[in-house]
């Protein structure tokens, strides 16, 4: 059986987010969207390098659409990404 080690839609929750291009949308109906590159990550926040500068986005309050290296775009609810980067390695999502 082949192991999918490169980042794909199925394993994005367990994979590395740093360096990916991302579009950020707020869940609470704010109209403004942001796009940039992920440059930092903590348990609850994602740091994105925008054209103006760095900005922190709470994972729980946003929806992120990541552009993968293979060209696909994946939309992920930020709640699923909550957890320290090294803890997400063993994270299991029951409903897919």
């Amino acid at each position: 059986m082949q192991l999918h080690t490169e980042i794909i839609a199925k394993n994005i929750i367990r994979h590395e987010l740093l360096g990916l291009n991302v579009d950020v949308e707020w869940k609470n109906g704010k109209q403004q969207k942001f796009s940039g590159v992920v440059v930092g990550e903590s348990r609850n926040m994602l740091t994105v390098q925008l054209s103006k500068g760095k900005r922190l986005f709470p994972k729980a309050a946003c929806v992120f659409s990541f552009k993968l290296p293979n060209g696909l775009c994946v939309k992920v609810d930020g709640v699923l990404l909550i957890g320290r980067p090294e803890d997400r390695l063993k994270k299991v999502v029951r409903k897919w």
Binding site: M1, T5, E16, E86
Partner: protein, 112 residues
Amino acid sequence: MKNRLLKAIARERIERLFEFARTYAQSDPEAAREAVSIARRIAQRARLRIPKPYKLLFCRKCGNLFLGSSSFSVRVRDRMTTHVVVKCLRCGWIRRYPAQKEKHIKSTAQKL
């Protein structure tokens, strides 16, 4: 199987983090240092060794990347034993790697 997949993903993540750190070392050194610390924590969690080319690339104390002459110094010392001294110019951390003299290597090769 599960463990193998975990380790494979961890290995890929470590590689990607170091590549990220390398690209951002000049423009955003703080982000690069953070990436190195995440890579080290992932290696600990998945019980993996950091690959040697990356292992020699950063300071174990502050996570500074050894790229360019302004970030680290390398000296060969011949005191008690011959060794290479690598010094981080950000925090002053020193690492000594043992080195053998060429003569000694030749003599051992002849014996073999």
